[in-house]
């Protein structure tokens, strides 16, 4: 059985670093929302990673070595940034 959470391949470090910053660094996330291309260039992403991230295609991102949890939470944090009113706060 393939593990749901696998050892992150070194070749995907820049992609995982970018997803980590989208998840955890509000300033980087805001820059990404405002100017995605510049933010991805800053992250040092290659063409495959850029295309997968623009589409936010989970399967492609994971196939490129992205950590599934980072994909999940980067996506949620981007949604929270773009539509904060869609969440009920407690």
């Amino acid at each position: 059985m393939n593990a749901h959470y696998f050892f992150p391949p070194a070749a995907a470090y820049a992609l995982n670093r970018c997803l980590f910053r989208l998840k955890s660094e509000p300033a980087y996330r805001s820059r990404f929302v405002a100017d995605r291309e510049t933010a991805m260039t800053e992250a040092g992403l290659g063409p495959d990673s850029r295309a997968a991230l623009v589409a936010f295609d989970r399967d492609r991102l994971v196939a490129l070595g992205a950590h599934p949890y980072l994909v999940f939470m980067a996506d949620l944090r981007l949604k929270m940034e773009r539509a904060p009113a869609a969440f009920e706060r407690f």
Partner: protein, 263 residues
């Protein structure tokens, strides 16, 4: 002063910020269980909470991946959307855990500068006792393989119990995590609730020591990589019988709140 309370709880951020994908009544039932924990912790007249949390690649990224880590700064802070949290750390207790943990041959990482993960602040948002007490964040690597083995987590919990029992403070040990969920994977909408229920039944019977014999592969398969935090706590409470305050299975998550008597 021996350990005075032991609790395991969930921390899914949808409990804090609810999107319309989440059943509001279920969320409120989990909040009600948190309220029971808050009363329990308040009545325990604590000096500190030691909170074992599974890191969601927040405190630690791929530049450094510790199996177990202790936050020993003056404070720890975390942010989630509009929420900003900062908690004082019980520095002398945190330092004693590091020093005595190392002495007991657990090669711990310690840090005086680390981001607080939501595994820590979501439970504290709902269950911090009144008046509030300082915390000791105890990080466990749950998402970046290879994670620590269940056997090692259980042994770390046993060592923690011995360390805490020799301290003067009244301490609650909390474990934050689980139960079954598979964030970011194909199985996100299909948690293994049967596995959770069987585990809770075993814990009710005081069979927590059996968790030390689980494998990492079993935890990954069951969507319970975060159960390493509970297994750490189980090392501290031994064969005490669990009191399950709630088990609320949502479409993506088994939300469980459990306490153990400590003696």
């Amino acid at each position: 002063m021996p350990l005075v309370a032991a609790v395991a709880c969930p921390h899914t951020p949808q409990l804090l910020m609810r999107p319309d994908t989440e059943d509001r009544d279920l969320v409120l039932r989990v909040h009600a269980a948190y309220a029971r924990v808050k009363r329990l912790l308040t009545e325990a007249r604590l000096d500190a909470i030691c909170l074992v949390g599974g890191d969601h690649v927040e405190g630690f990224f791929l530049n450094a991946v510790p199996a177990f880590a202790v936050a020993v700064g003056e404070t720890v802070a975390g942010h989630f959307g509009p929420y900003d949290y900062r908690f004082p750390v019980h520095e002398s207790l945190a330092r004693a855990i590091v020093e005595q943990g190392i002495e007991r041959e657990f090669d711990l990482l310690y840090t005086q500068d680390v981001a607080l993960d939501y595994a820590f602040y979501v439970p504290l948002h709902f269950a911090m006792p009144d008046p509030a007490v300082p915390i000791v964040p105890l990080y466990v690597n749950v998402y970046l393989p290879p994670q620590p083995t269940p056997r090692r987590c259980y042994a770390w919990g046993r060592a923690l119990r011995a360390i805490l029992d020799a301290r003067p403070e009244r301490v609650a040990l909390m474990a934050s995590g689980g139960m079954s969920h598979y964030p970011g994977t194909d199985r996100y909408a299909s948690p293994d609730f049967e596995w959770d229920r069987a585990m809770l039944a075993a814990l009710r019977e005081g069979r927590g020591a059996e968790t030390a014999r689980l494998t990492g592969e079993e935890l990954d398969k069951a969507g319970n990589v975060e159960l390493r935090t509970w297994i750490t706590l189980l090392g501290a409470v031994g064969d005490a019988r669990a009191d399950v305050l709630c088990y609320e299975p949502s479409w993506h998550h088994g939300n469980a709140m459990v306490t153990w008597p400590v003696r």
